[in-house]
Amino acid sequence: MSTTVATKNPSPAPSAAQRPRRSLLGQVLARPELGAAAAAIVIALFFLASAPAFRSLAAVSTVLYASSTIGIVAVGVALLMIGGEFDLSSGVAVTTSALTAAITSYQLSLNVWVGVLVSLVVALAIGFVNGWLVMRTGIPSFLVTLSTFFVLQGVNLGVTKLLTGTVATANISDMDGFASARAVFAGTLSLGPLNLKITVLWWAVFTVVATWVLLRTRVGNWIFAVGGNQASARAVGVPVRKVKIGLFMGVAFLAWFLGMHLLFAFSTVQSGVGVGNEFVYIIAAVVGGALLTGGYGSAVGSAIGAIIFGMTTQGIVYAGWDPNWFKTFLGVMLLLAVLVNLYIKNVAARRV
């Protein structure tokens, strides 16, 4: 598997020159996100045709917002999956980050930015522990992060109740630094008629940075290598441990970022939320072309996967369909997206 994977990645590795030349079209078709992009276009056209409200600029900004809250974490999850690992704790880690920031700043009456920084450290520590445990014990990341998922769920409830006396944090919107933190994490950009949530911008930034890291840096090659075949990656001198721990910390960082958005958008956090979202992030990465087995995928793909998810959930509402069937529509749309994705990939494989 690793050998085929390695040749699929258009990387600046020296071996690239020795590979048989592909046509430009072949190169484009071999990109992991192409199938997802085609599926996204099909879904967009479908909703544009069937839901009149979907055609407005306001709808565009709502869909992008919904997608960004999935896509921000999905970028990290996609990179981690390319590196061959899973993180089931990311959904709850978002809530942990938001709770940490809210409780720290409220209980100590500090500027909210202090809470933001403390929660960043906590989030990175969670990511580090996940990665370190996976590397140290050799237990599959699925199990390690499943444990973290439960631990964090309990900690979220227990600590919040212990420190605040209730299961939700106090409203911190009247505290120092809240306005500036809200502007950074939950602001709105007015671009003429389009009111764009700032998370959309951050999401784009994270996707671009992740794409650059994957395709233009040595670390990017390492990520593909450890996901393709860990043993041979180690044999050729890739620092497997550091790469994987770093990937887990990357997911934790993005979970923290979304947690900050959650906190500053809603001013309080209930400690029980976030469960189940880890799968949404994984779905976005997979729909976007990342392989469940590692070694293949892209950051842009995860962004397109998030857009597909966001468009589908919002599109159903814009179309005004019977809400009892909501989940069914969602399931069928996602399956169609993956099928289109697969079809394009097969066509691409034949062209190359």
Partner: protein, 332 residues
């Protein structure tokens, strides 16, 4: 080991930031120390101390359930009761928890009956084993089928109808009823009640576990259907999110909610939320435990075979005054 070095640096940075950061001059816990709960431990009345199990379908970490628990614990404290609380949103597992309580020979059981088919038989078995059972919060139409004699809660259908009537009286033309947990019998009953009296009502399902998705789904709905004149949310956190979605979508719809929390109480006072239908969860928890205590220690049977209604209590700008503080104290 570069990572640990980076971590150490980061930790140092935070310590520095904490040292540099000025204390928040507004808000925070230091300002709110005055309202400590002044519940002094009351002496247990009567000689015997009872053990009571409370088994609910709570989805952990929801502030609504925290109020039920706060009420139950206040009653337990007042009457010297040893309260054993357990919960599971899965009906079958909740039934097992009731069986656990029976096995550990508690003196009484208070349970919710959100899924009567699975919880009911377990309650029946407890009664057969000689343990008194009271139902609360949900199961109003089913509790008596299983031999449970007392019920404390709101009639969801009636509460919904009250909301619908008020909407109609205020001239509402189209109502959006937002359900945050698809498949919940109680929440469906509320929206059905609203539909009965308000007329033109549409139900929207959102994922209450994820407020960002609630916000975007609501916003999408408000953009799609500009005819919506009233939004009914079935939980206080959802109402707060609806306020934002309304602002972002530029909608003029009025917001009505079920339940309260500190923020929603404030929003009612500020006139942002029209009114709230409070089923008074604190009272539900308090009454369920107290009723068992009265039954065990004094043979009482409250309600005379009929449900005891804890709601709907309508909270609006006319009576919100002291309730804002009660909501902050986690008792309203």
């Amino acid at each position: 080991m570069r990572i640990s070095k980076t971590l150490r640096l980061a930790a140092l940075g935070v310590v520095g930031a904490m040292a540099l950061a000025a204390c928040s001059s507004s808000g925070g816990a230091q300002e709110n120390t005055s309202n400590d709960d002044g519940t002094a431990a009351a002496p247990a009345a009567g000689g015997k101390s009872y053990t009571i199990a409370m088994v609910t379908h709570e989805q952990a970490g929801d502030s609504f359930w925290d109020k039920i628990r706060a009420g139950a614990e206040a009653s337990a404290k007042a009457h010297g009761i040893d309260l054993k609380y357990s919960n599971d949103p899965d009906g079958a597992k909740q039934a097992t928890l009731i069986q656990n309580a029976v096995d550990s020979k508690v003196d009484g059981i208070a349970t919710t009956m959100a899924t009567p088919d699975s919880v009911g038989p377990a309650a029946q078995a407890a009664i057969a084993a000689g343990i008194p059972v009271v139902a609360f919060n949900s199961g109003i139409s089913d509790y008596s089928k299983y031999g449970v004699t007392m019920y404390f809660g709101s009639d969801e259908d009636l509460a919904g109808q009250t909301v619908g009537e008020k909407i109609k009286a205020e001239g509402g033309t189209k109502t959006l009823c937002v359900i945050q947990a698809q498949g919940s019998v109680a929440l469906d009953a509320r929206c059905n009640g609203v539909t009965k009296t308000a007329g033109n009502t549409e139900v929207l399902y959102v994922n209450g576990e994820d407020l960002t998705s609630v916000q975007s789904t609501l916003q999408a709905k408000l953009q799609q259907d500009t005819a919506i004149s009233d939004i009914v949310t079935l939980g206080a956190p959802i109402a707060m999110t609806a306020l934002q979605a309304k602002a972002d979508a530029g909608s003029q719809a009025k917001i009505i909610t079920f339940d309260l929390n500190a923020d929603a109480a404030q929003a009612i006072q500020d006139g942002k939320i029209e009114f709230s239908v409070d089923q008074q969860p604190y009272v539900q928890g308090y009454m369920a435990v107290t009723a068992l205590w009265l039954n065990l220690s004094n043979g009482n049977d409250i309600g005379g075979g009929k449900p005891v209604l804890t709601g709907p209590s309508i909270v609006d700008s006319s009576n919100i005054g002291p309730i804002v503080q009660y909501a902050k104290n986690n008792t309203r």
